[in-house]
């Protein structure tokens, strides 16, 4: 396991000041600060409702005060890597909904795309404003040794977590101003204005004047609702629910105290299937009837575009290096992780024989649900996965159990290492791209655990990209 902070019990250079600060904190101050942080989070309203929780009680996402540090050099590698990937993803989406050159070139199996539930045939041949399908991409990155960062997963539908990135910083700055005086850290607070700028550049064909932007949320019961309202607030745009929008004569409006008002760009945080009960899932009550036809008619832009989800499908992930080479003519700057596709007989044979050494994931799953971590799973669970894989091999991929790098957390009065990952957020607009230096560091709070998802009891840390 790679320890990002300590090298043989000695702090690495980038962490020197932080470690001595952490060690100098008396236990009672630590407790006090911890409570302070918790109260701040509670007051601001950052809560995270966990699925499968019957009482829908809101929980605080645990915050650890020991920051995660990324050096300038490391950041440059990450930055180049995620931007490259995001460009490739958008080129890929444009291609598979139009000319399908990558399939004709046999770089990716036709059935993997065409039979994929995330491939939306209603999008075929449709001209998407400025050819940007997925303007906001969160890339999950892990580190396994001192040199390499690797991409674990792409999130190009509606990646969440960016509000934690900003709020974590806010809280650290409030509680430990002295650290920020000592260490030169890149700011992350510009994210919202970058996002606004990017979205504004994506006005649809029939938009006149300054585009009216809204964020579409499923509502306060959604686990990321706080983030939706945070972004709306800091961008200065309306946070709407499906019932706030109406479509008349293919034009999308919102209902206001002054009557209906035209809407041009929707940053939607609801799934494809629920956008419009008339064109997609007809049982959806959080969507807007007629919205998709308004989109098709060029009156409104929906970001991300319906059907974008295919690009972050785990089966497609395994082809990402080929996708990057095909569209950009470059080698991937961030390597992927060795992946076995259970749909392939040889791979499946290997996976079934080595389940104890592998992580098995559902192709269309997300949020750490439906996952098997071989070395820590019970025999019954391994058995049940064997049956599952045999019954539906196309639905599973497997990866080696990678030892994620670690950063310590405050545990009682000492520092103990825990596994972390990193999710930076890339923004792509019309002829512009933006990337805030930073991201969300998620940390597995259980000792030895590799699952960092907040829905599975993970926590978060402030992430510092150093200026020099």
């Amino acid at each position: 396991m790679f320890n990002e902070v300590f090298n043989k019990n000695k702090p690495r250079i980038a962490y020197k000041d932080i470690v001595s600060w952490a060690n100098s904190l008396p236990y009672h101050t630590l407790i006090k600060k911890k409570n302070e942080a918790e109260n701040l989070f509670k007051k601001i309203g950052i809560t995270f409702s966990v699925y499968n929780n019957f009482d829908s009680a809101e929980r605080l996402i645990p915050f650890d005060m020991f920051p995660r540090v990324i050096t300038k050099l490391e950041w440059m590698t990450i930055q180049e890597g995620v931007v490259q990937r995001s460009l490739a993803i958008n080129a890929f989406l444009r291609d598979i909904y139009n000319k399908c050159e990558i399939i004709k070139a046999k770089k990716i199996p036709a059935k993997l795309v065409y039979m994929n539930p995330a491939y939306e045939i209603k999008m075929v041949g449709l001209k998407v404003p400025h050819n940007i399908y997925s303007p906001i991409i969160g890339t999950d990155i892990i580190r396994t040794d001192s040199k390499s960062f690797r991409v674990l997963e792409d999130n190009c539908r509606t990646p969440s977590g960016v509000s934690y990135m900003i709020e974590n910083r806010e809280i650290m700055m409030r509680m430990f101003p002295e650290l920020f005086e000592k260490i030169n850290i890149e700011p992350v607070e510009n994210y919202s204005s970058y996002l606004l700028d990017i979205l504004k550049s994506l006005a649809p064909k029939k938009c006149e004047g300054d585009p009216k932007i809204v964020i579409l949320t499923p509502g306060p019961l959604n686990s990321a609702y706080y983030e939706h309202s945070y972004l709306a607030d800091t961008m200065g745009v309306e946070l709407v629910q499906g019932s706030d929008l109406i479509v008349e004569d293919n034009i999308t409006f919102m209902r206001t105290t002054q009557g209906k008002q035209k809407v041009d760009i929707i940053y939607r945080r609801i799934d494809d299937d629920f956008i419009d009960p008339l064109s997609f899932n007809e049982t959806s009550v959080i969507g807007v009837p007629g919205l998709f036809h308004s989109y098709k008619s060029g009156y409104v832009n929906i970001c991300s575009a319906p059907g974008s989800g295919i690009a972050d499908d785990k089966a497609i992930y395994t082809y990402m290096p080929d996708i990057i080479r095909f569209y950009l003519g470059e080698e991937p700057k961030l390597p992927s992780i060795k992946t076995w596709r259970c749909s392939k007989a040889a791979d499946r044979k290997y996976v079934l024989a080595n389940l104890e050494k592998l992580v098995v994931k559902e192709v269309h799953g997300s949020g750490g649900y439906g996952m098997l971590i071989g070395n820590s799973a019970t025999k019954t669970k391994i058995k049940s996965f064997k049956i599952k894989i045999n019954n539906n091999p196309d639905n599973y991929i497997a990866q080696p159990i990678l030892s994620l790098s670690s950063v310590p957390i405050f545990k009682k009065d000492s520092l103990t290492p825990r596994h972390v990952d990193l999710r930076p957020f890339t923004l792509l607009g019309h002829r512009k791209r933006r990337l805030v230096p930073g991201g969300l560091t998620r940390v597995a709070l259980k000792e030895g655990s590799l699952v960092v998802n907040s829905s599975q009891g993970g926590g978060v840390k402030d992430t510092w990209v150093l200026k020099n």
Binding site: G219, P220, D233, L239, V240, I246, R255, T256, T257, G259
Partner: protein
């Protein structure tokens, strides 16, 4: 502003005000309980408190008897009561959560803290001993929230919708509480000036926290029903009077009409109601019939609410 935002702000405010009203009702109950001389008719007080809160029927659905402890619990925390203080706090916060960005962080914090502190008071078996402390907390939080609204909110249309919520609730509540006990305000030779009367009247004043105010306004002269009607219905000094609420509603509707530069039925009709009050006195109301007057008022206000809903909360073309 989004129509839903306006509607959520309005309802947030209504629920905050309602929680406050219920706390005041309970305070009266507590007071009755402290008076050692428990003669007959006190049972009636409990019943009328339930009736004033508009939940007597529901209470009797889940409770077989009317007891102090049970009523207190029912009004404060009982999950069977959809208009308990707890439900009001939750509803206020849920409404506000949907429009979190339409209020300042301070206002959100005030409401959110109220919600989070609720669990401190509602754990384990309910103990009547804690009532004063709980009531104190509710009222303190309500005042804090209202103060924060006044001090930090931008005085825009959202502010008006908040205040419309507060005063629609207050007008309705005061009207209902008088209506429940309207008979004690009727001139009747056999009661006037008796102990019972004075006690009943003071209870009524206290239930809208107007007892002290009344003394200040009328000096230490004898309480009589005309003065009470005047004070609780027609006075523009008493913050709990019906007229005061109507006056505020008129003011905020007027501001909205000006802000949006378009007049509407709600604004016009509230103006009419307001004018009716200005031209009334206690005797006229008694002549008309106090109960009839209050019923008509409640109906008229609900019509103006429908107008308000139509013009601002539906959000389509008019």
């Amino acid at each position: 502003m989004l129509s839903r935002t306006a509607e959520n702000l309005y309802w947030t405010a209504r629920y905050i005000e309602r929680a406050d009203s219920i706390a005041r009702l309970l305070e009266v109950a507590y007071r009755i309980h402290l008076i050692p001389n428990t003669t007959e008719g006190y049972q009636n007080e409990w019943e009328s408190i339930l009736a004033a809160a508009g939940i007597k029927h529901n209470y009797l659905n889940t409770n077989s008897e009317i007891t102090k402890n049970k009523i207190e619990y029912y009004l404060l925390f009982d999950p069977n009561n959809s208009s308990s203080v707890k439900a009001c706090i939750e509803n206020a916060r849920n409404n506000l959560k949907m429009v979190r960005t339409a209020v300042t962080l301070e206002v959100w914090n005030a409401v959110n803290t109220w919600y989070h502190e609720l669990s401190n008071y509602d754990k384990g078996k309910y103990d009547s001993k804690n009532l004063p402390q709980i009531l104190d907390w509710i009222k303190r939080q309500v005042n804090l929230i209202k103060g924060t609204i006044n001090n930090t909110q931008l005085l825009n249309d959202g502010f008006d919708f908040i205040y419309l919520g507060i005063f629609y609730e207050r007008a309705d509540f005061t009207a209902r509480i008088i209506d429940v006990k309207y008979y004690i305000l009727l001139p009747s030779s056999s009661y006037v000036g008796t102990q019972v009367d004075n006690f009943q009247w003071s209870i009524m004043l206290r239930s809208v926290s107007a007892y002290r105010g009344f003394k200040w306004a009328y000096g230490n002269s004898q309480i009589d029903y005309k003065k009470i009607i005047d004070f609780l219905i027609l006075s523009n000094m008493c913050p709990r009077s019906i007229f005061y609420a109507v006056d505020k509603i008129q003011y905020h509707l007027g501001r909205l009409a000006q802000f949006y530069q378009s007049d509407n039925a709600a604004n016009r009709n509230v103006k009419k109601i307001h004018k009716g009050f200005v031209n009334s006195n206690a005797e006229q109301i008694i002549d008309f019939g106090l109960h009839e007057f209050l019923t008509k008022f409640i109906d008229d206000m609900s019509t103006t609410y429908s107008d308000l809903e139509e013009v601002y909360f539906l959000g389509t073309d008019r």
